[in-house]
């Protein structure tokens, strides 16, 4: 009797055991990440100041978004950031990596250490440094232009609508190019050198090698780089870098910062949640496009 009871107890324990191991991670993630992620969708259907009563308004927030000039302006700057933070680092990164991976494998390690540094420094600190670099008077960039005789090009880079978005976007290119190079170099170094030798015998030039060997062989690296840069472009990187450099002036405000200001400055929590839903949809759109292109590539 006693032994039977203890064996059933043991059995129940051994069935539960795996769940006990994953429980701390799973519970904390569900409560503090997954639940907020999904509940955000339901917020987007209400009018709410965040403290009072929620009023269900259906799709009205989204209808309002369609004619919201501030939203479209934010959308537009995010598209420009997509070019500077996602497209440009990936294209330049591919070019640099294919140039570096084979020729300087040993010294590349030291260079890679440097390339990665912007990744470990708080974006707020990067923004603070670049604010000085772009400063109209006593700024680094204008002084450099003056030194090489291009002083007439000097301008308040962050202080005019023509240059501010590009100046902010370039900070993203600067910060993310090294990351792309490192991932691509690691990917290229895994490619079997025989593939390149065989293609040489077939008379392939280096450009053909790039398109027929290097690019298809990077099919695992490409989605990682694409998703990580896109998340940063839509999320915290653009948010923090804009907040420290221009605080959203001159058409630099990205969608995420607009959502923040709606929710926490203007008290339009429901409407802000609808903006976040759009942001989430864009990210998933890019992720889907990514898997689609990946499958097509294979």
């Amino acid at each position: 009797m006693h032994t039977q009871k203890s064996t059933t107890r043991k059995k129940v324990f051994s069935v539960l055991l795996p769940y006990l191991y994953i429980a701390p991670m799973v519970v904390s993630t569900i409560v503090f990440v997954i639940y907020p992620f999904f509940i955000n969708f339901s917020y987007s259907f209400v009018r709410w100041d965040g403290f009072g009563k929620k009023v269900f308004v259906g799709l009205q927030n989204f209808v309002q978004l369609a004619s919201d000039e501030r939203f479209w302006s934010a959308f537009q700057s995010n598209i420009i950031y997509l070019f500077f933070i996602v497209v440009l680092p990936i294209v330049l990164g591919l070019f640099m990596a294919s140039l570096l991976a084979r020729s300087l494998s040993k010294s590349a390690r030291f260079l890679q250490t440097i390339y990665f540094i912007p990744q470990v420094v708080a974006t707020i600190a990067l923004g603070t440094i670049f604010r000085w670099i772009y400063a109209p008077r006593f700024g680094v960039l204008n002084k450099l232009l003056e030194l090489v005789g291009l002083g007439r090009l000097a301008k308040p880079w962050l202080g005019s609508p023509e240059t501010a978005v590009v100046a902010v976007g370039f900070i993203g290119t600067w910060a993310w190019l090294g990351f792309c190079i490192i991932i691509f170099v690691a990917g290229i170094q895994k490619i079997d050198p025989c593939l390149y030798e065989a293609s040489l015998l077939d008379g392939a030039g280096s450009i053909q090698q790039f398109f027929y060997i290097t690019l298809p062989e990077l099919r695992f690296e490409m989605p990682v780089v694409l998703i990580m840069t896109t998340v940063q472009c839509l999320g915290s990187f653009a948010f923090a870098v804009v907040q420290t450099t221009t605080n959203g002036a001159y058409g630099t405000r990205p969608i995420a910062l607009y959502a923040y200001q709606l929710a926490f400055v203007e008290g339009k929590v429901g409407y802000a949640s609808a903006v976040v839903v759009i942001l989430t949809a864009i990210l998933f759109g890019v992720a889907l496009l990514n898997t689609f292109l990946g499958e097509k590539g294979n």
Binding site: M25, T29, V31, T113, F138, G178, S236
Partner: protein, 278 residues
């Protein structure tokens, strides 16, 4: 002919690579050198000269007059529990996901770990404020610690799981035959083995947690509770004009993660390149 071509390509590649490294380093060099100068000196002699004297006056002022000492303590109070806690959570979860079979394993992995890694703080900032407000945790460091811990645990689970999957499965069976409980097996056998994966995910989550900005911005309104990046942003809002003081503040914020990175450099890069790819 082809040999010459090879050498030229190599040379050009090297020059471009060095130029790029210089481009990456230059802003940090400006930050560091600028932090030792005086604002009047920058106005008088321009931005591109060395400091005339090397003293720590700016650092002293930023640390003790502008509360960066407080921000430092807050950053440490947030980062240490997040990294230690998330590694413990991740080791346990990765252990179960790697060596045990149980119903809904794949589904839980996909919908908790994979989704948890994908969700960035921007996507949850509004509900997170509501949640922490209802838990009465606004202006409490726990409000930042808890979500950071969960997100870091997801990432580390991914990295440690892929490391465990590369180990021979027999190790687990033989340890159990020896009479060790699974609990002992995890901490006495697998944890020491997983050192490279722990180093990689530990270093990366340290850096990320140290640099986190949006959650503190939303959840910590009391300036006395701000960690370094938020403190630097607050400081910048008040003292936009004083470049050397700002550079001293930026250096203080940037230095600890750079040191952690240089210390764990091989693991960090391996963690990013391999861990993220699996």
């Amino acid at each position: 002919m082809t040999n010459w071509k090879k050498v030229t390509v190599k040379g050009v590649g090297y020059i471009i690579a060095l130029f790029l490294a210089l481009l990456v380093i230059l802003p940090f060099l400006m930050m560091f050198l600028g932090s030792f100068r005086q604002h009047t000196d920058i106005i008088r002699r321009g931005p591109l000269v060395l400091p005339t004297e090397w003293n720590l006056n700016n650092y002293h002022e930023v640390l003790f007059k502008h509360h960066f000492n407080r921000y430092y303590i807050n950053s440490i109070l947030i980062t240490v529990p997040v990294v230690v806690g998330s590694l413990i959570f991740a080791l346990m979860a990765a252990f179960a996901f790697s060596f045990m079979n149980f119903p809904f394993k794949k589904m839980i992995f996909l919908f908790v770990v994979s989704l948890g890694v994908m969700v960035a703080e921007v996507f949850i900032m509004i509900p997170l404020f509501q949640l922490m407000n209802s838990l009465k945790l606004i202006d409490n460091l726990l409000a930042v610690i808890l979500p950071s811990l969960a997100m870091s645990a997801c990432f580390s689970t991914l990295v440690i799981h892929s490391f465990f999957m590369g180990l021979p499965h027999e190790l687990f069976d033989s340890a159990l035959v020896d009479g060790a409980s699974s609990w002992q097996t995890l901490w006495k056998i697998y944890t020491p083995l997983a050192k490279p994966a722990i180093g990689a995910s530990g270093a990366l989550t340290t850096v990320w947690t140290w640099n986190t900005y949006i959650t503190p911005l939303i959840l910590l309104h009391d300036p006395a509770k701000a960690p370094l990046p938020l403190g630097l942003a607050l400081f910048q809002g008040q003292y936009v004009a004083d470049i050397p003081l700002l550079m001293a503040g930026a250096t203080l914020t940037a230095l600890p993660p750079i040191l952690v990175y240089l210390l764990f450099q091989p693991q960090v890069v391996a963690g990013v390149t391999h861990g993220a790819l699996k």
